[in-house]
Every structure is written in structure tokens, then in C-alpha cells.
């Protein structure tokens, strides 16, 4: 077996310009943002002796009279309509618990899934007993946020044929702040694979299904072996996603696709090497800029 060896690379210190050092909008916990009492307290702040103080390290955002501090890195804060990818952690009475990278496990009610047999089907006690047949612990699902509870937990639904149980594919876990909010988060990429960019930072890569007939209401999963070429495309996409995430590039269909195109000269396993990663991401950013301008 040939081992790949490289010398340690020196990490370049970022050249920060003087203006970056004086940025007033970056605060750390305990910093007083304002002692003016006319402002409203938003997320990431608290009032200490009539002074509005930051409680997280991040960037101050001001909307009229409301002051928030947005931390650089945080858990997923779900909003109604967000597309999420999650993993079932528990099967309870009439509900599943789903791990979605948010601060409490999300809830998927039996009444908010599409069961085989159409919309109008009543949910009987028998359905409750066979819940584990549809989804069991460890299964991955895609879903949409239906509502947010007062304690911050999310309620999910899969009442559309595009949501449901996920079959064969690859899950990539990234930071939720890297996912760009878009009209659609489901994409059939022209390179031969499909992608679900969950708002919670979970990205699902899977081979593009040949025909969309899902009579089982999203609970049918194909166990057909996936061809080698499909698997290669998926692996390449996965490494591209990791490369983009390492350089903090926003993820959406175009950036992923451009990154894939830039990486075709390299072997799949080489994409994760730091120097190759940098080159690919630079090319991607260039393409994105060209497209914008």
C-alpha cells in the first residue's frame, strides 16, 4: 500500500488590515453595547445595571430599536418552513423524536406524516403500534419545520411527497450558518446526483432516483445497489462540500456545482489535501464572482 506523505505546511497568518482591528460591531461577552435605555434587548444580549451588554462573542446587528448579537457559530435555530434533515432518536406514543442539530430534539407527530393510503386516512390505534415499521431509531428523514414550541423545540411534518425517509446516500454534517437560504433546498445536480441542503447544516447526497413514483408516501426506500459511477460522484461531492465548508463558502446549488466542476482534474481522495482544497475553492469563488458580475 502506498502511503502518502507530506511535510507540515505553515499556516499563513491572516493579514488583517487596520480597519479590521477597529471594528466596533464585534463584541465579546460582557461588553457594554450601549447604556442608552431606549433600545430593545434582542438575542445574545442582557441588561446589567441599565446597560445593554453582550452575552456572546459575535457581530452586533441593529434593526431599528432592536439590538441583537449574532454569534459566529451556534446550534440550529429553526424557523417555520425550513427544510431539515434529521435522525430518529426515539419512538414514542404518537410521535418520533428527531435529532436535528438544534438545542432540543425535534418532534415528528404521527398525525403530520403521510401514511400509505392517501391524505384522508384516519390514524388508528393500530398505526400507533406499527410506527416503528415506518421509522425506527437511527433512520434518517427529510422534513419541514411546521411550528416552533415556546421552549425552542421544533415540530416537523413530512406532508409532501418530497419529504420522508431517506434511503441510500451520504450524510455530511456542517455548520447551519453555511447553508444559504433559498427557494428550494432539493436539487438534482447535472453531475448525476441529488442533494438536500438541510437548513440545519445536515446535507444529504443521494443518487438521482430514476422515476418519482412513491406510492408508499415517502417511506419506501430502494435497496438496489448503487453503481460505481454514482458512488464516485457522491464521494466527490462530499469532499467538495467539506472543502467549501473549511473555507467558509456559503453552500447552495451553484457553489456546489462549481466546486464539483473545479475538482474534476483531481482524484476524489486528493480533494481533501489542504493545498488542493485551497485551489479548488479559489476557482469556485472566481466562477461565482464571474457569474455575479
Amino acid at each position: 500500500m502506498a502511503a502518502d506523505m507530506r511535510l507540515p505546511t505553515i499556516q499563513k497568518p491572516l493579514s488583517l488590515s487596520v480597519s479590521d482591528f477597529d471594528r466596533k460591531d464585534l463584541v465579546v461577552p460582557g461588553d457594554v453595547i450601549t447604556s442608552d435605555t431606549g433600545f430593545m434587548r434582542g438575542h445574545g444580549t442582557y441588561v446589567d445595571e441599565d446597560k445593554l451588554t453582550a452575552s456572546v462573542a459575535g457581530e452586533v446587528q441593529r434593526v431599528d430599536k432592536l439590538i441583537c448579537v449574532r454569534p459566529l457559530k451556534t446550534r440550529f435555530n429553526g424557523e417555520v418552513g425550513d427544510v431539515v434533515v434529521g435522525r430518529i432518536t426515539e419512538v414514542q406514543q404518537k410521535r418520533w423524536k428527531v435529532e436535528t442539530n438544534s438545542r432540543l430534539d425535534s418532534v415528528l407527530l404521527l398525525s403530520s406524516v403521510n401514511l400509505p393510503g392517501g391524505e384522508l386516512r384516519r390514524r388508528s390505534a393500530e398505526d400507533e403500534l406499527t410506527m416503528r415499521e415506518y421509522l425506527q431509531e437511527g433512520d434518517l428523514i427529510s422534513a419541514e419545520v411546521q411550528s416552533v414550541f415556546t421552549d425552542g423545540a421544533l415540530s416537523l411534518h413530512t406532508r409532501s411527497l418530497k419529504y420522508g425517509k431517506l434511503g441510500q446516500g451520504v450524510l455530511v454534517q456542517l455548520s447551519p450558518s453555511l447553508i444559504k437560504r433559498q427557494k428550494t433546498h432539493f436539487h438534482n445536480l447535472p453531475c448525476g446526483a441529488s442533494i438536500i441542503l438541510g437548513n440545519n447544516g445536515f446535507v444529504w447526497l443521494y443518487p438521482t432516483p430514476e422515476q418519482q413514483d412513491e406510492e408508499a408516501g415517502g417511506f419506501y426506500t430502494s435497496l438496489e445497489p448503487v453503481g460505481l459511477s454514482d458512488r464516485e460522484v457522491i464521494s466527490r461531492l462530499r469532499n467538495c462540500l467539506l472543502a467549501l465548508a473549511a473555507h467558509k463558502v456559503l453552500l447552495f446549488d451553484t457553489s456546489v456545482l462549481y466546486c464539483y466542476e473545479s475538482s474534476v482534474h483531481h482524484q476524489v481522495k486528493d480533494i481533501l489535501k489542504p493545498e488542493v482544497m485551497e485551489e479548488i475553492v479559489m476557482l469556485t469563488q472566481q466562477k461565482l464572482l464571474d457569474q455575479e458580475g
Partner: protein
């Protein structure tokens, strides 16, 4: 036989009585300590945030030769004992451990012994005072700290590392928590004790402080000290903690700028 035992005891006694003068001179006449520091001088503090991608927050901190790694997971759903759930706030779970190679003599149990259980409890108390747990009802925050190299002041280095990790995780805190150990020798408080000083029979005190408001998060002392000296010792510890907080502040701001430049804002 009896003679020998007696001699040994006497030797030990003598060491205890004049340990500061005869055994090891902890503070020289010129006012320098064993490692060449002045009495109120801190060891060099170096730190890095965001050392792991997998965890929600992580930090690595060196204070002199003591090195610690802190990792934070959460807030997340309470796992394990459901009875720990608090409906008005988050539960903080701390685990302190020492690497087997961290001390001069190889450790047998990296965690779970009496000393580390006590340390975990102290860390938990410290962070419950600083983290705004009421914002995350019914959830849990895990703080894992590991000492990679131990050279005195383990508690304070752990607190300082964990503070950075919690900030990295984006969990709201009232203020930084900074900690420092202070010893008392020859009527002088010595800040930030190293292992040689700690084991030299000095009565030492560990203090964790929220520096901006000057609130004490934890004060721990298990040696004997005259009441009259306590005030000056606490005063010295608070000054030291404020010194540590300045260094941490610089680290956090530097990290903040680097990341925000990378994400192109």
C-alpha cells in the same frame, strides 16, 4: 529500628516547619521565585479557539507548562437520566480528566477518581454561575476538560480553557470566567503557582472571578491561613484573574476577526 522511624518523623517535621526556608526557597531575598518570576507575575498564557470541527465549541490553553484542552457540546437534549431535566434552565455537565502522561508519575485512572470528581463538581459550580442557563430550558450543556500536561494550577487552567470553549460554542455567558491560584509565602502572595510551589507546602487558594463585575464564582481553599492574610490573598487573586481576562479577551477578539474576515463580511 525505632530509632530510625523517629529520625524520619523528625526530619519530616523539620521540613514542614521551615519548608519555605530550608527545603526550597520559594521566594528569594531579591524577590524572585523558583522559575524566575516576580511574586505577582503570571505565567505565559497562550490559547487557541476552535481546535475541533466536530464539537460545538473547543479551545486549547497553555499556562506556563500546564496544558489543557476543553470541549463543549450543546445545548442539546438531556441524554441518559431523564430525571436531571430542569424545566426552567439547562443542566451543565462537566467532566474533568487528566491524561495518563500528564504527570511525572504515570496516572492509572485518567478520570473518575475522587480528585477528578471533586474537580468536575467545582467546574460545574463555576460555570453555573456564569452561563445563562435559563435561556435553554430542558436541555443540557456538556463541558469536557482534559489536562494534557500538569504543572500546577490545574483548576484555574481548566476554567480558563473551558471559558474559551463555551464562548466558541456561542453559548450566552454573563462575562468571562477567569481563575487563578494564589499562594502565601513570607507574608507575600504568590500568583499563579507552579507544581513545585504547590507541593512545597504553601497554603494556596483558587479563585474564579467574573472580572467585569468583580463577582466571585468560586473560592476554594483547603490549607490553613491566618484570617488577617485572607483579604490580601483574595485581592492578589482578583488582580491575577483580571490579568488573565485581558489575555483571554485578546484571544477571543483575534479569533473573532479572523473568522469574520474568512467568511467575507
Amino acid at each position: 529500628m525505632g530509632n530510625v522511624v523517629q529520625r524520619q518523623t523528625r526530619g519530616a517535621l523539620r521540613f514542614e516547619v521551615c519548608g519555605n526556608m530550608a527545603g526550597l526557597e520559594l521566594l528569594s531575598d531579591q524577590g524572585y521565585r523558583l522559575d524566575g518570576r516576580k511574586a505577582s507575575e503570571l505565567r505565559k498564557v497562550q490559547a487557541r479557539m476552535g481546535v475541533f470541527a466536530q464539537a460545538d465549541g473547543s479551545a486549547y490553553l497553555e499556562q506556563g507548562n500546564t496544558k489543557a484542552l476543553a470541549v463543549v457540546y450543546g445545548p442539546h437534549e438531556v441524554r441518559g437520566l431523564r430525571s436531571r431535566i430542569r424545566h426552567d434552565r439547562a443542566v451543565i455537565n462537566c467532566q474533568y480528566s487528566m491524561a495518563t502522561f500528564s504527570t511525572a508519575e504515570r496516572k492509572r485512572r485518567p478520570h473518575g477518581d475522587r480528585k477528578s470528581t471533586e474537580m468536575s463538581l467545582h467546574l460545574k459550580q463555576t460555570f453555573e454561575a456564569a452561563v445563562m442557563t435559563q435561556l435553554y430550558p430542558r436541555s443540557q450543556i456538556d463541558i469536557y476538560v482534559k489536562i494534557l500536561q500538569s504543572d500546577g494550577g490545574n483548576y484555574s487552567v481548566c476554567v480558563n480553557a473551558a471559558t474559551l470553549a463555551v464562548i466558541d460554542a456561542g453559548i450566552p455567558m454573563r462575562d468571562y470566567v477567569c481563575a487563578c491560584t494564589v499562594g502565601f509565602v513570607d507574608e507575600t502572595p504568590l500568583t499563579d503557582l507552579c507544581h513545585a510551589e504547590e507541593s512545597g507546602g504553601v497554603s494556596s487558594l483558587a479563585l474564579a472571578l467574573l472580572p467585569r463585575g468583580g463577582q466571585i464564582a468560586l473560592l476554594q481553599m483547603d490549607a490553613r491561613l491566618h484570617q488577617d492574610h485572607l483579604e490580601s490573598l483574595i485581592e492578589a487573586a482578583m488582580t491575577a484573574c483580571k490579568g488573565v481576562s485581558k489575555v483571554l479577551d485578546e484571544v477571543v477578539r483575534q479569533h473573532l476577526q479572523e473568522v469574520s474576515v474568512l467568511s467575507g463580511e
